[in-house]
Structures are given as structure tokens and as C-alpha cells.
Symmetry: C2
Subunit: 189 residues, 2 copies
């Protein structure tokens, strides 16, 4: 409880450095990693930036709400995953799909046609060893200087946190799922 704090009469320091782009990571086990990326995407779109989203787990079969609206806003959207791993009949195929998605994404970042690229749920194939960690860090470090990259997913590895400018851990304080409440259309997908 922190009631009766006083409203601040002085603002935070205004930074002095301008950087052309950032690497942002949203990790942790709480809700909000992907949605915060999509909210940031809105800001970029509103400034006229070209934005790309690559989803590493979701497949094209399951059109999520954010994809529909994102596309209507002109965002280039690729759901390149093979779906949930527990639905996979053939894990080496699922792995091959993820490797292909990464190969596509590194070319996309290097091309520099998009000023913001969102790599949604990319930490999962990274942690399963399907994407090489040092290669990903190298792609981020050597990206065109105007390209902001946002990466989401649980358990971001140290090397990725190191390479990022801003990292938020979404910590679950409580979640409706834990009380047996089903995922809700319009809120959870």
C-alpha cells in the first residue's frame, strides 16, 4: 500500500543521447509480453514506420485478432511457426519450420526495409537450441542502424539480455488461468 504518496513536482532526467534504434526484450512468465510488443507496434505505425511481425510459434492456421488488425494497419505479418509443439506429429519438422523462420527473419532484419521488426515468441526455439544464440546476437548487433527489434518470450537467455537496450520481465502476480478460467477471445487472443 502506497496511498498518500505525493505527486512528483520534478520530472525524471531527460536523456541526452539519441540513438537511431533500440533492441527491446519482453520476457518473464506473466501476461503482456506479446501484447506490449503489439502496443509498441501501434506507436510505430502511428508515426508512419514500416513494421514487420514474425511469429515463431503461431502458424498461419490460427489467425489471431492482432494479426487481422495489424494487417489492416499495413503491418507486414508472418506467422511462420508450426503451431503449439504439443500438437506436433513430427518434432524435427517443427524444428525445421523454426529454423526456416529464423533464416527468413535474419534476411528481413538485414534488408532494413522495416524500421521495426517484432520477433514474437522467439525465445522458445532459441532455448530449444533450434536457433543459434550467438548467431542471433550477431544479427542484432550488425543490424542496419535504423531498425528497432522487439523480441518476446519466456526465459530470454543472458546473451540476449546483454545485447538488448531495454528488457522488461513480465512477472505473474496472479493469473485467471490459475483459477481454472479459460482463455478469452478478445483478451487472450
Amino acid at each position: 500500500m502506497t496511498t498518500q504518496e505525493r505527486p512528483p513536482t520534478e520530472g525524471p532526467p531527460i536523456g541526452s543521447d539519441r540513438v537511431p534504434s533500440l533492441v527491446l526484450v519482453h520476457t518473464g512468465h506473466g501476461k503482456g509480453k506479446s501484447t506490449a510488443a503489439f502496443g509498441t507496434m501501434l506507436r510505430a505505425v502511428s508515426r508512419g514506420w514500416k513494421v514487420a511481425v514474425v511469429q515463431f510459434l503461431k502458424s498461419g492456421n490460427w489467425k489471431v485478432g492482432e494479426e487481422k488488425v495489424g494487417r489492416s494497419l499495413g503491418v507486414d505479418w508472418w506467422a511462420l511457426g508450426d503451431g503449439f509443439t504439443w500438437d506436433s506429429d513430427n518434432m524435427s519438422e517443427t524444428e525445421a519450420v523454426a529454423r526456416e523462420a529464423w533464416s527468413f527473419t535474419r534476411r528481413l532484419i538485414a534488408q532494413g526495409n522495416h524500421r521495426m521488426v517484432v520477433l514474437d515468441e522467439v525465445t522458445y526455439p532459441l532455448n530449444w537450441g533450434w536457433i543459434d544464440e550467438s548467431e542471433m546476437v550477431e544479427v542484432l548487433r550488425s543490424r542496419p542502424s535504423h531498425v528497432t527489434v522487439i523480441l518476446t518470450g519466456r526465459d530470454a537467455p543472458d546473451s540476449l539480455i546483454e545485447a538488448a537496450d531495454t528488457v522488461t520481465e513480465m512477472v505473474k502476480v496472479k493469473h485467471a488461468f490459475d483459477r481454472g478460467i479459460r482463455a478469452r477471445r478478445g483478451i487472450d487472443y
Copy 2:
């Protein structure tokens, strides 16, 4: 470091309870509280829900990117704050503006015309004692059953966490601002 984990071959339990709406709180000192609300708003919009956003600190003078895009998607948007408190010439006026915004918002929630209502940065006036905490909890508890409410801001008080279904704490692992990097248009606003 958690590389070489195995991809899960079993999904999480699917909840059995359907609830008509949820109360979500995004708190903590990290980046992503408001953007996650706007990302969730996208999902609601994509399902054809009527969505309202009330901003408790931002004033209408500073049109943020998300407002522009939100409006273009049909979201009803009210930036009802008096701006940053450190820009205030008259704090009792700033307080009155916040009280007015709350009075408006409780009517808006009670009316039930919007299936999702976002109360952005509402914890600040709450923690400054400008909005009564027990009154807010009562408004959430007695809301029309189809209305999902998302509340954002640092230091959400215990009673609000108690009243919520899902609470995420956005924890700052690192932030570009701490290295003196300025807020970036298209990313931070």
C-alpha cells in the same frame, strides 16, 4: 541460461470456467504497462468489441501515437489528465481534473456500452489519494458482468490486486533511459 530445454509435448491445462469478463492490472516499474493494454485493446477491436480508453495523466494537448491509431480503429479515447504533475502550476486544479476523470470513468463503466475499458495510468491519482481506493474496488466489483477493465500504472495498491483476476508486474531488468538515452518517438510514445 536455459538453452537446450526440450519443447513441451503437453499443453497447459485448459481452464473449465468461462467468465464473461476480467479485471486486468499491469503494474511495476518496467516498460510495457500501457503498451500491453493497447495490445490487448487490438485483440478486442479485432473481435468487434467496443473499447474505451481513459488516460488519467496524459492531457488532450499531447496526442500520443496510440491515440491516433486507436481512434482510427474506432476506439473511444479520452485523455482526461492535466499532463505531467511537474508541469502543473496549480496542483489542486490537477487533482480536481483527476477527480473529474474518475467520476466520468465510473459512469462509463457502469453504463456498460463498452466491453473493454482501459484506465491508463490510473494508479497515480489513486496513490496520491485523489481517487478513493475502496470506491474504485467497489466500481470494479459492481461493474456490468460483460465489461472487462484494464488498469495500468506503478505501485498498484493491494486492494486493487485483490480485486483483479490477472495481475502482471512489469519489472525493469534494464532500460535505455538509464544509460541517458532519450525517449524515442515511435517506440516510447
